[in-house]
Symmetry: C2
Subunit: 329 residues, 2 copies
């Protein structure tokens, strides 16, 4: 079991009373003077704790729960990270409360408010929105995003640059000359770094980059089907596809099959994430594996340490990726 | 917005003070006599509310959050139900706190304890364990399970009998005579009802039931691969497979492909759940679709009504299923 939070002890010290007395005041069991009660409550206010959080965490000594904000629980990539977080936390006696925001900023705000009101000890964010809430004075760890407006939180991310590089290198080595990129349209660090790595691989192997073939779309199976069918209809020639997520790679494969274009013979595909869907597709799709287990474990470990120590030990953690070669290249 | 809970009002009435006074006592903002404070706190205790729940729910007038206990968040079937719950609840201002138990009874207990301590308004259970906790005096809705030891909760389930019947009928009509069943080994209502429907379909069409070909395994891709490879090795002849979950159907398909047995030409397959994996497999697998969206929506609606009205309106809801025919039959 981890070391407990010092909050009750800190309050007791500041108020010049025993921890037991602080506990009695909070639990209102009567064995203390009104003067003591007033003093303890004043100290709690001075120390800027929300009363309900203190009331709760003092009663149990620690709230022993963390919140996870996740954009889409039905996406296996996110669900696997959450599972790893949950498995890491359970032996330490921590509950993990998962909140699915469906990428809705309003929902995210509601959940943060609710989690704070429930006195959680820390939050793991898996989301693309910058954190605006200024008053989150609990430990925060961000997974798979890199907010610019805070320097009091830890960031855990995959080696996206390396992942993009590996994808580009794989297509080039498989003989591709004219590559389409199905690119997440959002201008977020994750995507920017993947593209940087991808371009660097092409440059290194002296393969031309055709910006016209970089197609910005929503990360979505149907949008990818649509985009690739359009390329085929317009008779644009290409021999490789890099999709910045596996759901798009799967959409590309479906569109090519529908157009009677052979994979990998005529067009090669590399996806990203390594979700189980693409292992069972036909042909199975080559993909950049993000280590979902390690992303989740690392996030949970860093957060619990921050909760214990009240500070961020290291700000940035990069988790290695690998290329899983299958039948599509 | 839904009708709010009456707790603060009830306490005010019982204590003979105004609601504002109750609120002031709870929030400890000082504008009340010590006598009033003692009275309000006594009433709260008499009314048998847990202090922390009252402290919280009185402050906001309602906790406005529910918990969902889910066995495996990475299983798309469960994740989709949770998503539907979350989407139903958001417009009513309810937070949905998701707890993943990994089918671990200890985790489930910890989460229940934690959710209660956080003052949630109700719980949706998606789990196979009977509810043992006797003191859950908040509304409960069970999805996809049917506990025998409680009559104060609502049950939402798929029409599992009909699903099993449709699966059996589909295999028979496709010409199968010797069918293997990959059956969830657990003796739970969901599985019992599917098997009952399946047997009734076979009886109706006068097809023999071979109990030796009913294989009890864990619901798991690898276990299904293993089981089917074993049948092939032992040269047991069969021309159809009914898998009581899609993950097992997918495992069966993989084993048959590995053994160079053609689907659907030599062996036909029907799965259960209709998860997206089996739509993208090759060949795509015929499956009994459970209406995950409707299961989640119905559970959320019933729970919010119970929270509003403090009682169960109807005890049992059955959601229709349908057969989605694809290339494996």
């Amino acid at each position: 079991m981890r070391r407990k939070k010092a909050s009750m002890k800190e309050i007791a010290e500041a108020a010049g009373v025993s921890v037991a007395t602080v506990s009695r005041v909070i639990n209102d069991n009567g064995r203390f003077s009104e003067e003591t009660r007033q003093k303890v409550l004043r100290i709690i206010k001075e120390m800027d704790y929300r009363t309900n959080i203190v009331a709760k965490s003092l009663r149990t000594n620690i709230s022993n729960s963390i919140g996870v904000i996740v954009p889409d629980i039905t996406n296996e990539f996110f669900a696997s990270i959450v599972l790893a977080i949950e498995e890491y936390c359970f032996p330490y006696g921590y509950s993990v409360l998962i909140c699915n925001t469906n990428e809705d900023k309003e929902k995210e705000k509601m959940y943060i408010k609710d989690l704070l009101a429930k006195g959680i000890d820390g939050v793991i964010y898996i989301s693309d929105y910058p954190i605006e809430e200024g008053d989150l004075n609990i430990p925060i760890v961000c997974v798979d995003r890199n907010p610019h407006n805070r320097n009091d939180l830890a960031v855990i991310e995959s080696d996206n640059y390396r992942g993009g590089y590996l994808a580009g290198e794989e297509l080039v080595k498989a003989g591709c000359k004219q590559m389409v990129v199905l690119k997440d349209y959002r201008n977020i660090s994750v995507v920017i770094n993947r593209m940087k790595g991808y371009y660097d691989a092409l440059s290194k192997y002296n393969v031309n980059i055709n910006e016209d073939l970089v197609i910005n779309i929503e990360v979505n199976f149907d949008k990818a089907v649509e985009a690739v069918l359009k390329l085929v209809e317009e008779k644009i020639s290409f021999d490789g596809i890099f999709a910045t997520s596996d759901m798009m790679a799967l959409g590309a494969l479906t569109a090519l099959k529908r157009s009677k274009i052979k994979v990998p013979k005529q067009v090669k595909i590399v996806g990203y994430d390594d979700i189980s869907l693409i292992r069972h597709s036909y042909p199975a799709i080559t993909s950049v594996r993000q280590n979902k287990d390690e992303l989740g474990k690392c996030a949970a470990e860093v957060l619990l340490n921050m909760i214990d120590n009240g500070k961020v030990d290291q700000k940035h953690y990069v988790i290695p990726v690998s290329l899983i070669k299958r039948e599509s290249t």
